[in-house]
């Protein structure tokens, strides 16, 4: 059981929760996720850890209301309990000093990219961050991202804030400027990660993405989160969630995410 200590509405359908989870916070590392249930009858859903504090024994989770469980979670308030939370799951991000690293967060992906960018900066990397959203109202954490980046570029698809366009256009600009990028780290909607990957592949820039497929147990037991990476079946929960983007079968991933669309409407 984890108490919600703080709730913040980041945009109409994106909520931030700081929850008490002492033991998980002790071990959590950037890139890892948790699985939670909002009730006895609930689903198990994976959420990437957006931040953690070992001192306070807390985890920060950012939730976009897209399905049954995330909508139920959006209704929870400070002081409420999340009955079941388990983690930290997945492998931590492979963060070391490499040089210039571009961190890209799209939409809800801004949350999980944050602790990774922070860690990369701490390790002495030059971190250029690009964060993007469909429109200004759903953009969050600009200031926080600014603090952990040497440079921050904000984009919106509709041009309501920052640069108009996609994160890939900004990335293209950085590549064109001739600066040597050691690695790109991208988290966001699958089509965005695919677009980033397609771009960097042509330039041979190593790119890592964090995948968030449908999962049940999160411990390697069900195989629901499988994705082909370099022609091999990988389980995101134990082999990932981060993979070398240039080997990920994004098409397959996009398809599998649609598996329960009909049921989602029924629920």
């Amino acid at each position: 059981m984890s108490k919600i200590l703080k709730k913040e509405v980041l945009s109409p359908d994106v909520k931030l929760f700081v929850v008490e989870a002492k033991e998980i916070a002790k071990k959590a590392e950037p890139g890892q996720f948790i699985i939670l249930m909002v009730s006895e009858e609930g689903e198990r859903i994976p959420l990437t850890i957006a931040d953690f504090s070992r001192d306070d024994g807390t985890l920060t989770l950012v939730v976009q209301e897209v399905g049954v469980t995330t909508k139920k979670m959006g209704k929870l308030e400070e002081g409420d309990d999340i009955p079941y939370i388990v983690g930290p799951l997945g492998k931590p991000s492979d963060v070391v000093k490499r040089g210039l690293i571009v961190c890209i967060g799209g939409g809800i992906g801004i949350a999980p990219i944050y602790p990774i960018a922070r860690k990369l900066k701490e390790l002495g990397n030059e971190v250029i961050s690009i964060i993007g959203a469909r429109t200004k109202d759903i953009l969050f954490w600009e200031e926080k991202m600014g603090e952990v980046s040497s440079e921050l570029i904000v984009t919106t698809d509709d041009g309501s804030y920052g640069k108009k366009g996609f994160v890939t256009q900004v990335l293209q600009g950085i590549i064109d400027s001739g600066r040597e990028i050691s690695e790109v780290m991208a988290i966001g909607p699958v089509p965005m990660m695919k677009a980033v990957s397609d771009l960097t592949k042509t330039y041979g820039i190593k790119t890592v993405v964090s995948l968030n497929p449908i999962m049940v147990d999160g411990t390697g037991m069900c195989g629901g989160c499988r994705v082909d990476v370099d022609g091999e079946k990988k389980f995101c929960c134990v082999d990932g969630p981060e993979f070398d983007a240039h080997y990920v079968d994004f098409e397959g991933l996009i398809q599998r995410q649609q598996a329960y669309k009909e049921e989602e409407q029924q629920g």
Partner: protein
């Protein structure tokens, strides 16, 4: 008195009825039936049946108590050796164990030990329903032992060690205790209320249960040993499900049996939308495999409303590893067995949804390493079957979470933990292991047997320390 040559039948729900509900199929003996079956036991001086039981239940002892109509006594007699009698009475393959050794089996049918075990265990549950178990206290200075996993092996080792006055903590990764008993075996074969009751019993012995604790992540084995646990027993069960590595396996509607059963059993997807977890209610289902899990998956699919369930198995009926009773149940319910058939491709529509499965006919060749005749594809015999769901039930590999964070814990090439002998002692001091993580996919009772032996070994280890 003449001894009846055949076993007393146990009433079951009619196939036509039961295939539409998730209620238990086998209904258990009435008192008269139990007495009539118990009367068949000749109370051998040297009971061979006990040798056949991995946890060495005093079988003639408890059957005699049934004859004496002391049903509660019978249940307690079983519990001296087995903390999960209502589970074992239902899911043990008695025909390959105690009942195989029964002398009556030479000239007729063995005593139906399993059904009698179930009768006694159910009697106790019925009598004590609603009353909480009396809590046992463990001595304050008792040594602490950590058990990783709350499946049959973990529950057994916990109960045994609590009896010996150790302070036992079970760590379970899921939100519910029971391991395969709750996520794997369906309600219609093992009601979850029974598992819950048995878990409560183990807790009442003084065992602490921590759910949502994933060892290997939130704490490593070394963390446990460094933080006051004198010994650790690893029984994490089945791991990563195997797929066939054929084209189309990532299509929508392809499940591992683990996922399909976990959704339905643990997450109660069969009660969707009352429960939030969805599951595909396919109309034409192919289940690949021939083990007990394949039977469970087929019969679950049927109950979720499938019109046709094909069980596709590459060998013949003779080699099928599932229990005879389960095969029979599946056939009665109308599962369509397609034997000597092997899938070679899963076909999907333009949206990536399963639309069929391409198979090839097989014939049996020379015996392979397992001693069973090796199935060989027949050239040119490919054919397609129209299905909308495929469930892969071809076994599991080992879970890597413990081994990857415990470098000095030796594993074999499949990732299973290596133990020195039956004691369960691993390469790491103070760490023991048992159940499927050691043996690969086996049975509930073998995992319990391993737990029992490990408990003795752990006690011995801690006594000489």
């Amino acid at each position: 008195m003449e001894i009846k040559k055949t076993q007393q039948d146990m009433p079951r729900q009619k196939p036509e009825e039961r295939k539409k509900n998730f209620n238990e199929v086998a209904l258990g003996y009435t008192e008269d039936m139990a007495l009539s079956e118990a009367a068949r036991c000749i109370q051998c001086k040297k009971p061979l049946c006990v040798d056949g039981c991995p946890v060495e239940i005093d079988i003639p002892g408890f059957i005699q108590l049934i004859k004496d109509k002391d049903y509660m006594g019978a249940a307690l007699k079983i519990k001296e050796k087995n903390c999960l009698p209502a589970v074992c009475g239902r899911v043990c393959p008695q025909e390959d164990q105690c009942e195989l050794k029964c002398v009556l089996g030479i000239k007729g049918e063995s005593v139906s030990i399993g059904r009698l075990e179930r009768f006694a265990a159910d009697f106790e549950i019925e009598q004590t329903k609603g009353t909480p178990f009396k809590r046992h206290a463990i001595s304050s200075g008792a040594k602490k032992i950590a058990i990783v996993g709350s499946g049959p092996s973990g529950l057994t080792v916990a109960a045994e060690l609590a009896h010996l006055d150790y302070k036992v903590t079970i760590f379970e990764a899921f939100h519910k205790a029971g391991g395969v008993l709750v996520y794997g075996i369906p309600e219609f074969r093992l009601p979850k209320s029974i598992v819950e009751r048995e878990v409560e019993y183990v807790k009442s012995l003084g065992v602490e249960l921590k759910t949502n604790w994933i060892i290997g992540k939130i704490k490593t084995i070394d963390d446990l040993l460094d933080n006051g646990f004198a010994a650790v027993y690893v029984c994490t069960g089945a791991g990563l499900p195997y797929f066939m590595e054929i084209p189309g396996e990532n299509s929508i509607g392809v499940y591992s049996a683990n996922e399909f059963l976990t959704r339905s059993n643990l997450m109660k997807a069969y009660k969707f939308p009352e429960y939030d977890t969805p599951i595909k209610h396919g109309k034409k289902i192919a289940v690949i495999g021939g083990g007990n899990v394949a039977m469970d998956a087929s019969r679950t699919a049927l109950r979720l409303g499938a019109d046709n369930v094909y069980l596709i198995y590459r060998r013949s009926m003779e080699e099928m590893p599932a229990r005879e009773e389960e095969i029979e149940n599946a056939q009665e319910e109308g599962i369509d067995f397609r034997l000597l058939t092997n899938p070679i491709e899963i076909l999907a529509d333009e949206k990536g949804k399963v639309r069929g499965i391409k198979c090839i006919k097989m014939e049996l060749g020379e015996p392979d390493d397992s001693g069973r005749r090796r199935p060989v594809p027949i050239d040119g015999s490919e054919f397609e079957v129209e299905v909308d769901t495929v469930i892969m039930s071809i076994g599991n590999g080992a879970n890597p979470l413990i081994s990857s964070t415990t470098p000095d814990l030796d594993t074999n090439k499949w990732g299973n933990i290596i133990t020195k002998d039956e004691s369960g002692q691993t390469s790491k001091k103070g760490v023991f292991a048992g159940g499927d993580i050691v043996t690969g996919g086996a049975t509930v009772i073998l995992a319990m047997g391993a737990g029992k032996k490990a408990a003795e070994a752990i006690d011995k280890y801690l006594s000489c320390e």
